[in-house]
Symmetry: C2
Amino acid sequence: MTDLFKATKAMFHLPQGMIYLDGNSLGPLPRAASERVARMMQDEWGEMLITAWNRAGWMDQPARLGDRIGRLIGAPAGTVVLGDTLSIKVFQALAAALSLRSDRRVILSDSGNFPSDLYMAEGLAGLLGQDHVLKIAPPEDLGAAIDEDVAVLLVTEVDYRTGRRHDLDELTRRAHAAGALVIWDLAHSAGALPVDVTAGGADFAAGCTYKYLNAGPGGPAFIYVAPALADRVRPALSGWLGHEAPFAFDRDYRPGRGIERMRVGTPPVIQLAALEAALDVWDGVDMLALRARSLALTDQFIAGVEASCPELVLATPRDHARRGSQVSFRHAEGFAIMQALIAEGVIGDFRAPDVLRFGFTPLYIDAADVQGAIDILARVMRDRLWDRPEYRQRGKVT
Amino acid sequence: MTDLFKATKAMFHLPQGMIYLDGNSLGPLPRAASERVARMMQDEWGEMLITAWNRAGWMDQPARLGDRIGRLIGAPAGTVVLGDTLSIKVFQALAAALSLRSDRRVILSDSGNFPSDLYMAEGLAGLLGQDHVLKIAPPEDLGAAIDEDVAVLLVTEVDYRTGRRHDLDELTRRAHAAGALVIWDLAHSAGALPVDVTAGGADFAAGCTYKYLNAGPGGPAFIYVAPALADRVRPALSGWLGHEAPFAFDRDYRPGRGIERMRVGTPPVIQLAALEAALDVWDGVDMLALRARSLALTDQFIAGVEASCPELVLATPRDHARRGSQVSFRHAEGFAIMQALIAEGVIGDFRAPDVLRFGFTPLYIDAADVQGAIDILARVMRDRLWDRPEYRQRGKVT
């Protein structure tokens, strides 16, 4: 598979002299994306104008690209659609799940979840009234916290700080046994490791496209609804493009067929053009091979950093089964260390209070990049390059 | 001002041999947009990658461009922000307004409103419980329907089918007198005619950028919240980028300052680059001059069509004060007529059941275009060019 990943690496624009270990936050530019977007803007928007909604297939694109993402997450055709942001898609899935279990009041999640998921759940619970609550367990106790009060379990597979991976299949079995529905947040899973929403029995799943899928900043989110449920849920965000017949302009809302009802407003056509080019890179990529390579890269990084930087404390599980496609280390001076590292050409990121975070994205990161990053990090630590006032000034970090 | 509009017309790519009267649905490509987007993708996404969130100002762009839209709608700096779709922004405004008038249960709107606004209101009322209701009045009775049960009046200024314009100031006065809040939907107003949310006393306003503002297909929506209210509303869609400190990754949601709390998820940076180029065209455009030209163009079209096509029945008010920047005619064969007209190079659109709709966008439409459209429409009607089987087959229309 090395040849395959050599080929995929060549499909990205990677800046000279930079080792980019932040593709878990924002994937790099696929070389084909610039031209694809330019062509869409000139030939479709520019020349076809309004008629491009049909002639260029803009209207169906959220479903067509949804099917291509479906292949990466084990979802059958017609069960995934693009649009909005992940926060909005989580809100939609939560509202739908609660409507299916309207006799229960508890949304269960864990403190390792990405905060926006928890905020959106909090906001929804507030709208629904005081008897709906969001319960937040520690990640390690999440399974044990599932009981027959839980309407819906909202779980992000991979912890954005530590890279710790939940056992989604097991959590889903437990939740279903207790009569709860399950939403998988695949933000750090789609394109990062093998996912199978069908085999795992997810009721809903959502994820974003600008991390491991490389769709560019602000690329739209995706949502999956299990086929058995899709025609049963009444959308809370009942926008016109989720209507059964948007262009009938009926006064009353009638949900569209299946996953179509999870659409809300006008799709972001320019972003979708970039996503389409980004998805081309995935053609022919075997997710098991990707996973094997991801584990090899993270193993290599862990071993190299532990050997050369004893002050850094591993925050990511060593157990392959419990690891996503990133590695995190803790250090009290993590912020300054990351600034120094970035100045030396290794791009990772920092997550408060003390986490240094590195994403390993096999489509364009190889063993030589990992060794380079280890060497530079070792130098930053050995020579205390981080110990400068300018590296301690905190601005906004992403 | 003719020279100004000659200059703005030159800033757009308009296809050869086409008279484009559908800018009220999708504005044309600003010439600078392709290059702006290409540069953003290559120099910012491609080269700066994750660091562009700060270095290229991506994170602040929704507020920065919001300020530029603010100038066109009478909103002070710091009161408008970009993001999501108009349906989502209407949902946010409605939820916020209802939380401020939590003792009341009625959302009032009219049947001339764009259906998605009504659908979103219906969805929100469903979430909040059975005692919240959406009341829909005929447009002409909207003012009279305002009573002391109304929590919020949701009104779209210009009817998307007929071009009929509400008197927003008067409706807002009546609503305020009854203790209700008011949301202005400016989908067919922003960039179409002078708007003053401040003088008019709007509590909330929202609109889209891909119609008269020419940001391209799926360009993000904007939302305005009156300064006196912005710090008081608790967002229902409480996403991380609306948090007071998104990168603190706190477990609990604390709303950001003022309009910032109306942000939800990651902004669509590629779409925003196109919007930025589109907004450049507006520099130096005086909205009163734009309005004068819009009325001249719509007057010209009405007079020309009525003189040459007696079978077409005007659906748009003759009264300037009650007219937006579009003209609509009714005809039982409206669908086929529009198909024939499009085949002859005049692009308008059709809205069920019988409306032929034409947008007049002074930035790039001039009197010669209007005369050309009149002549072609007259020929289509006189020679019954629409009376062909292929023009009667209905696909999806936008």
